[in-house]
Symmetry: C2
Subunit: 433 residues, 2 copies
Amino acid sequence: MSQKPLNIAICGVGTVGISTIEILRDQREALLSRSGRSLLVSHVGARREHTDHDYGDARVSRDVMDLARDPDVDVLVELIGGTSVAYDLIKLAIQQGKHVVTANKALIAEHGNELTALAETAGVQIRFEAAVAGGIPIIKTLRESMAANDVSEVAGIINGTGNFILTEMSTKRRAFDDVLSEAQALGYAEADPTFDIDGTDAAHKLAILASLAFGIPLSIDAPMKQGIQDVSPEDLEYAASMGYRVKHLGIARQTNQGIEMRVHPTLIPEQKQIAAVDGVLNAVMVSGDAVGELLLVGPGAGGAATASSVCADLVDIARNPGGSGPALGVPASQLSEQALVPSEQIASEWYVRLTAADQSGVMSDITQVLANRDISIESMLQKPPAPGSGKVPIVLLTHMAPQSVMTDALSEITALGEVEPDFALMRVEAFDR
Amino acid sequence: MSQKPLNIAICGVGTVGISTIEILRDQREALLSRSGRSLLVSHVGARREHTDHDYGDARVSRDVMDLARDPDVDVLVELIGGTSVAYDLIKLAIQQGKHVVTANKALIAEHGNELTALAETAGVQIRFEAAVAGGIPIIKTLRESMAANDVSEVAGIINGTGNFILTEMSTKRRAFDDVLSEAQALGYAEADPTFDIDGTDAAHKLAILASLAFGIPLSIDAPMKQGIQDVSPEDLEYAASMGYRVKHLGIARQTNQGIEMRVHPTLIPEQKQIAAVDGVLNAVMVSGDAVGELLLVGPGAGGAATASSVCADLVDIARNPGGSGPALGVPASQLSEQALVPSEQIASEWYVRLTAADQSGVMSDITQVLANRDISIESMLQKPPAPGSGKVPIVLLTHMAPQSVMTDALSEITALGEVEPDFALMRVEAFDR
């Protein structure tokens, strides 16, 4: 091969960085054959404690900024995470005329508009397949395979930690805290798991998917966000008995009222394929007017799976150094704002669990409140009272209602003396529209 | 935009051709934004009966060869099917320096080695995302997203007609001929459905997937091939009662003995996601050493879904007119033969249904034959005799055994006077290795 190697700088040598270095080393011949040029790790940015790994012939620097300034580097791979140093680093690399590959969803969600615009001006590529759903090629599918589609919806299980926790709670009737501790011990959850639990991580990824799907600018605050911390094993069980599984979904949907973007625990009919995606797996459904519905399932995290996506981006750059279309599908300057539906106006079917006094007339009072607000009941489950408690759990599935109508109804219902103030409320999505 | 339009010739105006023309017209603005240049249908090849459609400003010719010779055409889209005219057409287009997009799996499976080599020499692209699994981006996933993986296996439901028939037989207990007639009435099956039924169509697609997965030359005759015509509703029912679904799968697997390539009805554990892919949907599982297992599910046929993939190829060409890597992942000259495992040596678990005389000692005779050949039994189902028949059905699931060992055992068993000569035999795949 006469083409000169693609010199790659790897910033950050955690599990993904090390896996990337190993893959590029072990697949050297295959990647040369596939790309027409060598993919060479020429410079590694590693903190003190990581400088003693075997990085082959690569230079090793402790200051990652040195990698962005290295004139021999063609592509900078950002795997340090966070949104401060990583931001400065990528900006510098772009200014230095280098392509960028990153797995950093928070950074892309927060600074992607600016960074993609900078890259386009500089004539370099910025790629982030690994930032959403790990090894699943969902960025490429939206950006390239569905380029000729009007996309109406993207919905997915895009946080593996959350899905692991819900799966364990649901299949083994375990409590949230108990499973979370195990997830941390297994390395699935961070020491500070807040972003996995409260939906922040999924919201970052959803913002990226929505931008690619609908051609809108990235907006980190756009998704309405609800975590899994309040899901109880009891609700998982009721949902199962009514034919549903509960998954923590990110949903971005084009509607007549605007774009819905939301992250929340969701009841899904058990016969829907995505309902069966368990454990740390991720899955993304995409609907387009031409292709119909696609479902992609695979590992959403893990060093090697994420590195597989990082390397795919590197191969794309090696094959198309002149660029292969805009990072977000359309040029940054052509991304166009669309109205967002405020969360209180987002309609869906609902799962409601109330606790009521075990006395006649309660059910009639509840259904009257719902009827007054045009909320119709799809099905109802009333369990016998816990012995001696005098309290009965009442579980309802409703037809479509906006969130504000639903929460107003629940305020009125819980103001009835017969119904306790604590209740559970989750959205139901049949994905049949 | 200053770039000149990409002039596209559409050869063949059946459902996929018309859908492609409509998408390129309706998405004109979006595609310009995504590609940086207009995607323009400049020439249409239509037989006499199709010349009166509205093709906008495009020239219309009855001789498709005129499109390959048109100096204004940049990309020729071949949608006429078959392997004679289509072959000449694509060869001519390449010789004329045009890129080629095709949905023709038979052509790629049969002539792809030559055509991709010609295209590489001529410096043009040949792309065929639509040739396998319709709207599912499996070609791109193997060629690009998994470029850094050693692929160990590709397995999928890659013929929608066959899957529709098996699904109807299984869920509604209908007979094969009955469902086939309906599939033809619905337009799912061709007037001559032979290739859908006997596995030929799936074998063509599998040959393409295997080449991309393992870097081997295309070989149309490599897959061992068994159709769905001999699957009985009875066997679907027995399989279900043992926790399995029967799917017509194409499987290409890297083993220590070489590459297995096979197309056949397969028992799959019902909890495996692909077992729940019903109707005309397609699904492909891919396993790679870095990414692990990916599953892609979506429409395997239909005008718009197939056209979605054709248009994705066109956008890729518009974005990367200079090429974006070899059509089969590695350059045609670097594809490298690997040994194929002959079908009689391919080992798997097996489903066997025998009909035996309802008398003592039969079971012992059967199990003795199997034991003598080291075939161990995983589970067994013995049904009561049909009243007055004196015959009992015996259903066995075995552990791993090569096909030749299994068929030899069955010859010996059916030679026992107590067992009828007719039996059912299907492979079982747990996909858990």
